[in-house]
């Protein structure tokens, strides 16, 4: 039992580390197809990472030790986050270590470090990016927490594993609140992962950058780690979304056979999810930064609405 949990944990972490860049590549591929461009290979993110790892680090004169340690901290945070999310099984040794609220805290920790690193060299774009990132962060965080609160109220637990077990394995009940929460969560994840319409991951215009502006001064292995961490974040968010709203197929058991089946189902769900993400990014345009409060405010209201719907309509069940 405990051995299986340990095994499942290792497998989940390894799958996250390996699959995250591929998911990123898949989204880019889908987007290229949708936009009638010829697509980069699926493994393009790996090639980029490998190139970056081989390059020398060019460090600004003014960069401090915080700047140099931040990529390692951010990467560790994201690896830990993707280990906590029940992607392949709910029987993980890390699942009691953090519940949904702690997971939000972990993402916030990584965000604070990347924002601080953006301010460290003292360039105009860096602090601009940090300011915008913290703006998006404080707008998105409450909405995300409200989504988790709704799910927690349904399953009477903030533990992600318990939430998944409740939603996937108990008797089938339709929760209207989860529909609102799902829309809110999708909006928040677009913002948190620096996607269109809040940010543009492929932008080349500095004044519209958010995430890219903060990491402008990074190069070489530091940049590689940050890019990988960003892929891990997208992977973790996708897995959270799947766990909360499409939990079917995540087993409670952790033996190799069910892990393999769960892995296959996860790939399928991620492929569909990645395609949908590319679709959203293709059909929407990037907003001005001061439209972001409206966008995320809507997400927040939807999440609060989800909670109210649950309390009003579903609480008796």
């Amino acid at each position: 039992m405990n051995f299986y949990a340990f095994f499942a944990q290792l497998v989940a972490l390894a799958v996250a580390l390996v699959m995250a860049p591929i998911l990123n590549g898949w989204v880019n591929q889908c987007r290229a197809w949708l936009q009638n461009r010829s697509a980069p290979p699926l493994l393009q993110t790996y090639y980029t990472l490998s190139k970056l790892f081989h390059k020398d680090v060019l460090l600004a004169h003014n960069a401090s030790s915080l700047f140099r340690s931040a990529p390692y901290i951010i990467f560790s945070c994201m690896a830990l986050a993707s280990a906590i999310v029940p992607s392949l099984s709910t029987n993980l040794i890390y699942s009691p270590a953090a519940d949904a609220i702690a997971l939000v805290g972990l993402f916030a920790l990584a965000r604070v470090f990347i924002a601080l690193a953006g301010m460290d060299v003292g360039t105009s774009f860096g602090s601009l990016g940090s300011r915008r990132e913290m703006l998006i962060g404080f707008l998105a965080e409450p909405a995300l927490l409200m989504v988790f609160f709704t799910a927690s109220l349904i399953s009477r637990s903030t533990s992600l594993s318990t939430i998944v077990e409740t939603l996937a394995h108990r008797e089938f009940v339709i929760y209207p609140s989860l529909a609102f929460a799902g829309v809110a969560f999708s909006m928040v994840s677009l913002a948190e992962n620096a996607r269109v319409p809040i940010d543009n991951p492929t932008t080349h215009l500095e004044l519209t950058m958010v995430h890219e502006a903060m990491i402008l001064e990074y190069s070489g292995r530091h940049l590689a780690l940050i890019e990988w961490a960003a892929c891990l974040k997208l992977f973790a968010y996708s897995c959270i979304g799947l766990a909360l709203f499409f939990p079917f197929g995540i087993p409670e058991a952790a033996d190799p056979v069910s892990l393999a089946i769960a892995g296959a189902i996860l790939m399928l769900k991620l492929a569909v999810g990645g395609f949908l993400l590319a679709l959203v990014e293709t059909i929407s345009a990037k907003m001005r930064i001061f439209r972001a409060p409206e966008f995320l405010g809507t997400a927040f209201l939807l999440a609060v609405l989800a909670m109210l719907v649950h309390l009003l309509l579903e609480a008796g069940q």
């Binding site: 020398d56 560790s76 927490l145 927690s152 533990s159």
Partner: protein, 669 residues
């Protein structure tokens, strides 16, 4: 005296502080004695007090009557779990602050060192007496000496007019608050006329009187804590005071108000009404939201921290309100959960806010600058202060695995239970309030990134910053102590929760010790593992393990080559330190989003101006909505009354005559 009890030892440590102060004032110019012996001695006494309080948490209540004071009114003292917890908070924080102060005080700054030593130690001792007092009279004496000594500490640089003004405002609000507390004691003493707390506990209040006593106490203690709208003194007094004093006031003195209100509402009054809790909850949320929004737009580093203190006090009151709600609906376990969150946050805030205030003190000494717009890049010149302040910043932003996160987590957990309240609409409304708590926590992160990023990161914004020197050895010890506290309180929550158990048992009749200790020291699961669990030790351990592992792997399989080059900044050739975000720039999104709540005046330079100046001032709207109208009414009223004073003796004789006649007419029947 038959037996030597724990409370006597506590009393002795408070007296030791007083005598340290007296020795200091006896040799007011002997700088070496004061800074190298007396202040470190004060830190040792604080440490002893903390240990005594720790054992006091586990011992039962002890009482002592001191033959001091007025003839028929001796001082009653009492040490129970609640006072022991706050004494622990005082001792543990003061140990760090005192050792820092030993390195911080300088010759020729403010009042004479000997006088500062006296005032500082009187301040500490009177806070200890506040927590020990067991009758209204002793409490008020201690409370007032606390207010007075801290007033003189705030105005230690009294040659500046603005500091005198800040001190006066502080004194005024403190005394208006003290009147509220005194009246509240009066109501609770009722018809007995006995002002001991024992008599108040035994007296049964009827009808509206408990509510009156509670509201008066809320007004009085709220003024000290900085609850909206009585918060105005906080952002003025904290920047004015020397940094160890700001740390002491923000970290510990604000908590004496929480202590007082807890004492009144759970110990002295018997029944609690649910709407008291809702009132506290709403006031707390408003205070926290107001504090955090204003913290993000400040340009003075100590004002920023002062507003952040207002925010934290608000969060403490939110927890307090939830406790009252749960208690009034007879849900002792949930009340214990909310109360644990409240008390835990008191302890956390004491540590991280003292740490941050002290680090601003080091920055102030190194640069003589409080304005964020003239700082920057200090992590290179002051690495000790910067990295230790980073711990405080992360804790204050409520990030795992540090201590600020734990209390926030517990608070959100208790919010999740409000959906089960046996009340028609509270069970729908209260969970929604959690959204506001989440927003406040996220905004606190913004404020803290602004604080740390602008002070310590980037390029130095002024030339003289290149000569900034790191904190001295004693200052480092003080900062290290508080930073270690932030980490330990964050990583071993079960120990703290077990210590809080006697306090919650005393106040709400239930505790979390059993639930907390049943899962091993590393797993925090206050209700049940199935319901919610969090393990800061695993968090910290995993990150601490992964970081070197990744570092090693990257350097081993690739290379560790590194070149120092000029900053890239998208190839812009000209880069000056003035092109970074200023404090105003960083707060701009907040000013824009929350502009309806802020009162701001702006001056935009014209594009043809040869020497452009941009000015943006954000002011506290409460001055204009509340205080200035009140001041105007008072002034108007006094002018009307002044009409009576004509300054001619004939008129005063007429007044006496009319009074006499009126009295005669009244007494005739």
């Amino acid at each position: 005296m038959t037996e030597f009890l724990l409370i006597d030892w506590v009393l002795f440590s408070a007296l030791a502080w007083l005598s340290i102060g007296l020795v200091g004032v006896a040799f007011p110019r002997n700088f070496t004695l004061i800074s190298r012996i007396l202040f470190p001695l004060g830190a040792v006494v604080a440490l002893v007090l903390a240990l005594l309080a720790l054992s006091g948490l586990l011992a039962g209540p002890q009482v002592r009557i001191l033959p001091l004071g007025l003839p028929d009114l001796p001082f009653h003292l009492r040490l129970d779990a609640l006072s022991a917890f706050f004494l622990l908070l005082l001792g543990a924080t003061a140990a760090g602050i005192s050792i820092y102060a030993a390195g911080y005080i300088r010759k020729g700054e403010g009042t004479a060192p000997g006088l500062q030593c006296l005032l500082y130690h009187v301040f500490l001792a009177s806070m200890a007496f506040v927590m020990l007092a067991d009758d209204g009279y002793a409490f008020m004496v201690a409370w007032e000496s606390m207010a007075l000594s801290s007033f003189f500490l705030v105005t230690s640089e009294h040659r500046h007019a603005e500091i005198r003004r800040a001190g006066y405002l502080y004194l005024l609000v403190a005394h208006i608050g003290a009147v509220g507390i005194l009246l509240s004691f009066g109501v609770m003493a009722g018809s007995t006329g006995d002002y001991t707390f024992d008599a108040m506990r035994d007296f049964f209040h009827e009808g509206i009187w408990p509510t009156v006593a509670f509201l008066l106490a809320l007004f009085g203690f709220g003024a000290k804590a900085g609850l909206l709208p009585l918060h105005v003194w906080l952002p003025e007094a904290h920047p004015a005071a020397p940094s160890p004093v700001s740390a002491m006031m923000s970290g510990v003195m604000l908590k004496t108000a929480i202590y007082g209100l807890l004492r009144v509402s759970f110990d002295l009054l018997h029944a609690q009404l649910w709407w008291w809790g809702i009132l506290l909850l709403v006031l707390g949320l408003a205070t926290a939201l107001f504090g955090v929004i204003f913290a993000t737009v400040q340009t003075d580093m100590k004002r920023l921290l002062a507003y952040s203190s207002i925010e934290n006090i608000g969060l403490i009151f939110v927890g307090f309100g939830l406790t009252l709600v749960f208690k009034s609906f007879l849900l002792p376990n949930l009340a214990a959960l909310a109360l644990t969150a409240t008390l835990y946050h008191c302890l956390n805030h004491a540590f991280f806010k003292s740490l941050l205030f002290l680090s601003t003190g080091s920055v102030l000494h190194a640069t003589h600058e409080r304005n964020l717009g003239k700082l920057g890049g200090l992590i290179h010149r002051m690495p000790w202060v910067a990295w230790l302040a980073l711990v405080g910043v992360l804790a204050s932003a409520g990030l795992p695995p540090l201590n600020g996160f734990i209390s926030e987590w517990l608070l959100l957990q208790s919010f999740l239970f409000t959906s089960g309240l046996p009340h028609g609409y509270l069970n729908m409304l209260l969970p929604v309030f959690a959204a506001a708590v989440a927003l406040i926590a996220a905004l606190a992160g913004f404020a803290m990134v602004k604080f740390f990023g602008i002070v310590f990161l980037g390029q130095p914004r002024e030339e003289n910053l290149a000569h900034a020197r790191d904190a001295g050895r004693l200052e480092r010890i003080g900062l290290l102590w508080l930073a270690a506290g932030c980490v330990l309180l964050g990583v071993f929550p079960n120990v703290v929760i077990a210590l809080l158990d006697p306090v919650t048992r005393l106040l709400v009749g239930s505790g979390l010790r059993a639930a907390a200790s049943s899962h091993g020291w590393w797993l925090l699961a206050p209700i049940s593992e199935d319901r919610a669990s969090y393990s800061p030790a695993i968090f910290l351990g995993t990150i601490a393990l992964l970081m070197p592992l990744v570092y090693w792997a990257v350097n081993r399989y690739y290379h560790g080559r590194l070149k120092r080059v000029p900053a890239w900044d998208c190839g812009f050739p000209l880069q000056t330190s003035r092109m970074q975000d200023t404090a105003e720039g960083f707060g701009q999104p907040i000013r824009r989003i929350f502009s309806p709540f802020l009162r701001r005046t702006r001056e935009h330079p014209s594009p043809f101006d040869a020497k452009p100046r941009y000015r943006s001032i954000v002011e506290d709207p409460f001055w204009y909505w509340l205080y200035l109208p009140i001041a105007r009414i008072v002034e108007h009223g006094t002018r009307l009354i002044a009409f009576l004073q004509q300054g001619r003796i004939a008129i005063y004789l007429l007044y006496s005559f009319v009074t006499l006649l009126t009295l005669l007419v009244l007494t005739r029947g």
